[in-house]
């Protein structure tokens, strides 16, 4: 069902960056040729890293479990194809820091043979908890980039009264078209995923929000959703950051999510469109999340396009499949140009949260020297969260983190709109990312100090108890010794008395017998 008369609400701020989607949005999704090696990091999600279940040299089948989830917020990892485990070691993460993380290296055998799956012909008759369990077992995480384990979101219905599922298909970042292509080519799978997710959440209303600049996707989704009254396709205006979940919810419902809480607090759960498709695949066909669609774009790439990529494929394989590099890129990004992470090198793998690989030229990056702030307040006008970026940046720069926090630093979503419009080219959002990290670090240090205090007190108490026990033991021994002495003295006296009274011949026997009783 498509509702053209759906009432939308205006959000404050936002920017209109050039879309630059035309290079890739017309390209059908292609399959990436299987690379020679896949490197699968054990942490591709927010939460605890997964624990390996395989050993070096093991043969694994496509879809086989490689590592299980640890703790409540975590996700398992599966083999993207059949092959041999070459090693379990450390490899640079696809992260700005380039720090090494635990990674399983898999050498594909070329057979691409599936493990026995557990399909479910009637997923809508499953218990909601079973759906959450299957989603957790399939290792599905938020594929928009946040990589939060999806099963945890399905479990939100136990704590909150939910009424609406919002599917985030805004794709507001420039360059990226992976969700656009997915909706054009796999609309029915997405709708199936939405229906299963609705059942899993026990909610009977879904809104699919697609930005106006994707008319083909809107048409395809409307067609696929025609038979289902509970699903409404909504075209939302093109404005960055429309894809920020709190702002998307506000656009659709007019309700603002309270600061530092979840959209579930106002009864709404948001899932990315690629995530619900993965949920559908996992529940109906039993297939774990082992591949995803990635946009390869940027001026430095010869033939930009969209690829279906197995998790763990090196970024260089993707670029090679797109005709290689035209020139040395000025910036290599994972994700979009507004919020994406710079990648340390071309060898790093694609993970579950990688929506795009962008190789940008110097002209596209267009970095300009920073000038002093002229207090024009452009950043205040565009901030979608209603903050004062110039004031926060000022404090972050002068190491006044608390001052920045008082101005609402923790409510900043790091969308980068402020840096985008700043006429003085001040790296505003970069200051906020630094300040948020430094504040968290301070809290960690404080927590550690409190724990140190607790440990030191516990140790002091234990030492005191040990000393007391020692003292007590000493006192007891002393008392025993004294008692023994007293008894001996008594015995001696008694013996003397006996000596006087009885025959002298008995005396030695008595004397020998008495002390033995005392010991």
């Amino acid at each position: 069902m498509r509702s053209s008369a759906f009432k939308l609400f205006r959000i404050r701020g936002g920017v209109h960056p050039e879309g630059r989607k035309q290079d890739t949005c017309g390209q059908p999704i292609r399959e990436l040729p299987m690379p020679a090696l896949l490197r699968i990091p054990l942490q591709q999600h927010i939460g605890a890293p997964a624990q390996p279940e395989v050993r070096r040299g093991d043969r694994v089948l496509k879809g086989q479990l490689l590592a299980t989830s640890q703790g409540l917020i975590s996700a398992p990892v599966h083999a993207p194809t059949s092959g041999v485990i070459k090693s379990i070691g450390k490899f640079p993460a696809p992260h700005a820091s380039g720090l090494p993380v635990r990674t399983i290296t898999l050498e594909p055998d070329g057979e691409d043979r599936w493990i026995d799956l557990d399909p479910q012909a009637t997923p809508l008759h499953l218990e909601p908890d079973d759906i959450a369990e299957r989603v957790a077992a399939a290792g599905i995480v938020g594929m928009g980039g946040a990589t939060f384990p999806s099963a945890v979101k399905l479990g939100l219905r136990e704590r909150f009264e939910l009424h609406t599922l919002v599917i985030n298909a805004a794709e507001c970042e420039p360059y990226l078209t992976c969700d656009d292509r997915l909706m054009r080519e796999r609309a029915h799978e997405i709708i199936d995923g939405i229906r299963i997710t609705l059942h899993g959440l026990q909610v009977n209303k879904a809104l699919v929000a697609i930005e106006n600049n994707k008319p083909e996707a809107i048409a395809a989704m409307t067609e696929a959703a025609r038979a289902f009254d509970e699903i409404t396709i909504v075209a939302v205006p093109v404005r960055y950051p429309m894809g920020s979940e709190k702002h998307l919810v506000q656009t659709l419902t007019g309700k603002e999510t309270p600061a530092r809480s979840l959209t579930a607090d106002i009864g709404i759960v948001v899932h990315n469109v690629a995530t619900v498709r993965a949920i559908g695949e996992a529940v109906r066909f039993g297939r774990p999340l082992i591949s995803r669609v990635v946009t390869v774009g940027g001026g430095a790439v010869h033939e930009p396009g969209n690829l279906q990529v197995p998790i763990g494929a090196p970024v260089e394989a993707l670029i090679e499949a797109c005709g290689g590099l035209r020139e040395e890129p000025a910036k290599l990004l994972s994700g979009g140009p507004m919020m994406g992470q710079p990648l340390p090198e071309l060898r790093v793998p694609v993970v579950k949260g990688t929506s795009g690989i962008l190789a940008l030229t110097t002209a596209e990056v267009a970095s300009k020297p920073t000038m002093p702030c002229i207090r024009c307040a452009s950043c205040v006008d565009v901030c979608p969260c209603g903050l004062l970026p110039l004031e926060m940046a000022n404090r972050a720069r002068n190491a006044d983190l608390q001052g920045a926090a008082d101005f609402g630093l923790m409510d900043c979503v790091s969308c980068g709109s402020c840096s985008y419009v700043c006429p003085a080219h001040i790296p505003l959002v970069q200051y906020f990312n630094y300040a948020k990290g430094a504040l968290v670090e301070q809290q960690r240090a404080k927590h550690k100090q409190e724990e140190t205090k607790r440990l030191a007190a516990a140790r002091a108490e234990r030492m005191e108890r040990l000393a007391a026990a020692k003292r007590e033991a000493m006192a007891k021994r002393k008392a025993e010794m004294a008692a023994k002495k007293a008894r001996e003295a008594e015995a001696a006296q008694a013996a003397e008395a006996d000596d006087a009274a009885t025959e002298p011949t008995d005396a030695p026997v008595n004397k020998l017998a008495e002390p033995q009783v005392g010991t």
Binding site: L99, T370, P372, A424, Y434, E441, A445, K453
Partner: protein, 176 residues
């Protein structure tokens, strides 16, 4: 002569008694600020500041003899809190030079003598007799007491490893 001796004795005794009782009942419980500062310090008595324990360190802080950055386990957050409490400005440059370190046991050299964990003020080392010991990094304050205790020099101080969990963006380096 006798009257003078008697009167002075009586005077001395009376005043002495009064002073004695006054000392007992009007006793000042140390500097209250010192107690407050000591409460803020980690209390592990590790001695990294150069004072024998947290209480003497608190005294030195109140007297203004020690900088607020004296406590390595407390780090930057404690330095800022202390500066706030004492009404001074914290010079954090000294702190930034000193990277936080934690102890590390080299397993090939450890003989399981149990000396190091007996010295640890926060019970951050586990092990038992003739078993390899190990450091719980989260509990270690980097006081180096175990380093001196080890007979085989197998305890080393390493910087806290950087992981994706504790990494964060550096401050943008721009002139403006």
């Amino acid at each position: 002569m006798l009257a003078a001796v008697a009167s002075l004795s009586v005077l001395g005794l009376t005043l002495g008694t009064v002073l004695g009782y006054a000392a007992r009942y009007l006793k000042v419980e140390g500097n209250p600020l010192e107690a407050e500062i000591e409460e803020m310090l980690p209390g592990s008595q590790c001695g990294q500041c150069g004072y024998p324990g947290c209480s003497p360190a608190a005294t030195a802080l109140v007297a203004g003899e020690a900088p607020v950055t004296l406590c390595p386990p407390g780090g930057q957050s404690l330095a800022l809190e202390l500066a706030d409490k004492l009404g001074v400005t914290a010079d954090l440059s000294a702190l930034e030079e000193k990277q936080p370190m934690i102890a590390y046991v080299r397993e090939d050299l450890c003989i399981g003598c149990t000396r190091c964990f007996k010295r640890c003020p926060t019970d951050a080392i586990i092990g038992s007799s003739k078993q390899i010991h190990a450091v719980i990094g989260d509990a270690c304050t980097g006081c180096e007491k175990c380093v001196d205790a080890c007979p085989t020099e197998c305890v080393e101080m390493h910087p806290i490893p950087q992981t994706l969990q504790n990494w964060y963006w550096p401050k943008p380096s721009v002139a403006a």
